[in-house]
């Protein structure tokens, strides 16, 4: 076990297991961003609501990725907000896309609770919020950031 290092590092949102979370977020930021870019550039008129939502989802993923990677006091709050918006988005858009399919003629990342992406869009914000709560607790109430209020 000579080359085992770093397990005892202080909790940072972008380190340790958080690095994995950031990697998955980055993949989704890329996937959602590329998809939204193509949809808006080539056929925005077909389904403006769905494509605007794709762009919004992409923006939220980018914000969450950067905030989680950076860590720090302000980033922690931004990350909590981004994860909360994401969770709300996937639940609201997921429900609407099932109830009123006509309003969503083309798929978004959040359609049907992210079924097209293996439901990862549904799981990711929940894991993100749990991870943020854990790192905030590990830092202690007095040192930085405080607890992310609410948490979605």
């Amino acid at each position: 076990m000579a080359d085992r290092i770093g397990a005892g590092a202080p909790a940072a949102t972008g380190g340790g297991p958080g690095r994995l979370l950031v990697a998955v977020y980055a993949v989704f930021a890329l996937a959602a961003g590329a998809r939204a870019g193509v949809q808006i550039a080539t056929r925005f008129g077909d389904a403006p609501v769905a494509y605007a939502l794709s762009a919004l989802a992409a923006a939220v993923y980018v914000v969450a990725t950067v905030a989680l990677a950076r860590g720090g006091r302000t980033s922690l709050r931004v990350a909590v907000a981004a994860c909360a918006v994401e969770l709300a988005g996937v639940l609201v858009v997921g429900s609407l896309s099932l109830v009123d399919a006509a309003a969503f003629p083309d798929e978004t990342v959040w359609s049907a609770y992210g079924r097209g992406y293996g439901f990862v869009p549904l799981v990711l914000p929940a894991v993100g919020l749990l991870w943020l709560r854990r790192t905030a607790r590990a830092r202690g109430p007095g040192t930085g950031g405080g607890r992310p209020a609410g948490g979605g």
Partner: protein, 121 residues
């Protein structure tokens, strides 16, 4: 798209993912072996990009060319990004990042193949 190349890409990505997963489960940081694996994957992906563009230029290809090209180029970005982000973490979570990066390229290659064949929109 050539099926042979796409299959080689998927196999290489899955092998690299499995290698990195074993490293992560053994609780070791990533090493030169992972960088070599990612390098091989990147070369295969670059070959796929070249073949893809040549075939597009030859008049073949899916109706949704923009999406196809987007995926094609995005696949190239993932292994270097995974290597960079993984190298920053000297613990088991470094190779774990490589697992995610390799699985993402495998999934995207499958999507590329589907787009080319026209089985999805």
């Amino acid at each position: 798209m050539t099926d042979v190349l796409a299959t080689a890409n998927i196999v290489a990505a899955l092998l690299a993912a499995a290698y990195a997963l074993v490293t992560a489960l053994r609780d070791r940081p990533m090493g030169v072996g992972h960088l070599v694996a990612l390098g091989v994957l990147e070369v295969l992906l670059a070959a796929q990009v070249v073949v893809g563009f040549v075939k597009l230029n030859g008049g073949g290809g899916p109706d949704d060319t923009a999406t196809f090209v987007g995926y094609l180029i995005a696949t190239l970005l993932i292994p270097p990004a995974g290597a960079g982000w993984g190298l920053l973490e000297r613990s088991r979570w470094g190779p774990a990042v490589i697992v995610v990066a390799c699985l993402a390229t495998a999934v995207m290659t499958v999507r590329l193949d589907q787009l080319w064949a026209g089985t999805v929109g």
